[in-house]
């Protein structure tokens, strides 16, 4: 005849809800308590967090120098550093910009110089071809040899 005791106890779901409600009330008090931590404790926690971040940066540099900022992003974000890794990536890219401009300039100069040489040689050839050949040229052994040589 324990039915009285059973019927008086709340259903499991209700009991769990009641338990959770009480627990959250308690933890809200704990949150108030934690928010009122002494200044020296909060400062030491802040310093600890910053030291952890510095070590994280150092670890990233040692472990994955080529990986850049991508890998540590989530950890840094969660630890609340607020520093933008994206900006450092852009800085790295920007540092290559002068080198790219220099190489492009050199290529352009070389191309321009090559074109000049070609056009100068073409002018000489054109003027030679357009000019009348003097009869004495046929008695020149070197010219005869030139005529016999295969054309490139």
């Amino acid at each position: 005849m324990n039915r009285t005791g059973l019927s008086s106890s709340p259903p499991v779901a209700e009991a769990e809800a009641l338990q959770a409600r009480f627990a959250y009330r308690v933890t809200s008090h704990l949150t108030h308590q934690a928010a009122a931590l002494p200044q020296d404790i909060t400062e030491r926690l802040r310093i600890a967090r910053e030291q952890a971040l510095q070590k994280a940066h150092a670890a990233r540099t040692v472990r994955a120098p080529a990986r850049g900022a991508v890998g540590l992003g989530p950890v840094l974000a969660w630890l609340g550093s607020g520093r933008s890794e994206e900006s450092s990536l852009w800085l790295k890219l920007a540092s290559f910009l002068p080198l790219i401009v220099l190489v492009s300039g050199l290529i352009a100069i070389q191309d321009w110089h090559g074109n000049n040489e070609i056009s100068a040689a073409a002018e000489v050839d054109a003027s030679l071809l357009a000019d009348d050949l003097p009869p004495s040229a046929y008695s020149d052994a070197g010219f005869v040899e030139f005529l016999k040589s295969p054309r490139e």
Partner: protein
């Protein structure tokens, strides 16, 4: 992270009862998280941090060579207040009633209540306290709490239930309603 680190500090302080050691453990946990779990997705980090914190606390106990304390704290104590003849509903007044009753004079006693609750939570057996704080303060679900504590989900529910009933009973005895 600020609120997380404060809760972490309090949780470790409950366990080791030494503020300096708690600060060291929290810092060590942050460093371990940043050092070893760089590649993990952001969503996994809170749970990982709780796990690291628990492990770091255990490491501290090991280093301190207080094995007896560990055995005592981590064994399953039955709370003396457990299964007491009380109703959880009696301890739970509604929020409206609480705020309506609160006056300027009550503010002083409210601070004392905070201290009392803090003290009673710190007196809970370690496993009960860990389960209670992870489940209801860190707001992990049962599976996550079990994962951090390295026990079954059933154990988590049992620890939480016992912790809640212990706290409710002691607060009722002291005439505190939440």
């Amino acid at each position: 992270m600020k609120s997380v680190e404060r809760r972490a500090f309090k949780r470790v302080t409950y366990a080791v009862r030494d503020e300096d050691a708690a600060l060291d453990i929290v810092q060590d946990s942050m460093i371990r998280l940043a050092d070893k779990y760089i590649d993990r997705p952001a969503a996994e980090l809170p749970l990982l941090f709780q796990r690291i914190l628990s492990n770091a606390t255990m490491d501290w106990f090991r280093r301190q060579k207080v094995r007896k304390a560990i055995v005592r704290n981590f064994s399953e104590f039955e709370s003396s207040h457990e299964d007491g003849d009380f109703d959880l509903l009696e301890t739970l007044a509604t929020q409206d009633e609480t705020s309506a009753r609160e006056s300027a004079a009550d503010s002083v006693s409210r601070a004392q209540i905070l201290l009392l609750i803090d003290s009673e939570v710190s007196k809970l057996p370690t496993r009960q306290r860990e389960a209670f704080l992870l489940r209801y303060w860190e707001e992990l679900d049962v599976a996550e709490t079990a994962s951090v504590m390295g026990c079954s989900e059933g154990s988590v529910k049992t620890h939480c239930s016992r912790a809640v009933h212990s706290l409710a009973a002691i607060l009722k005895i002291k005439g505190i309603t939440l």
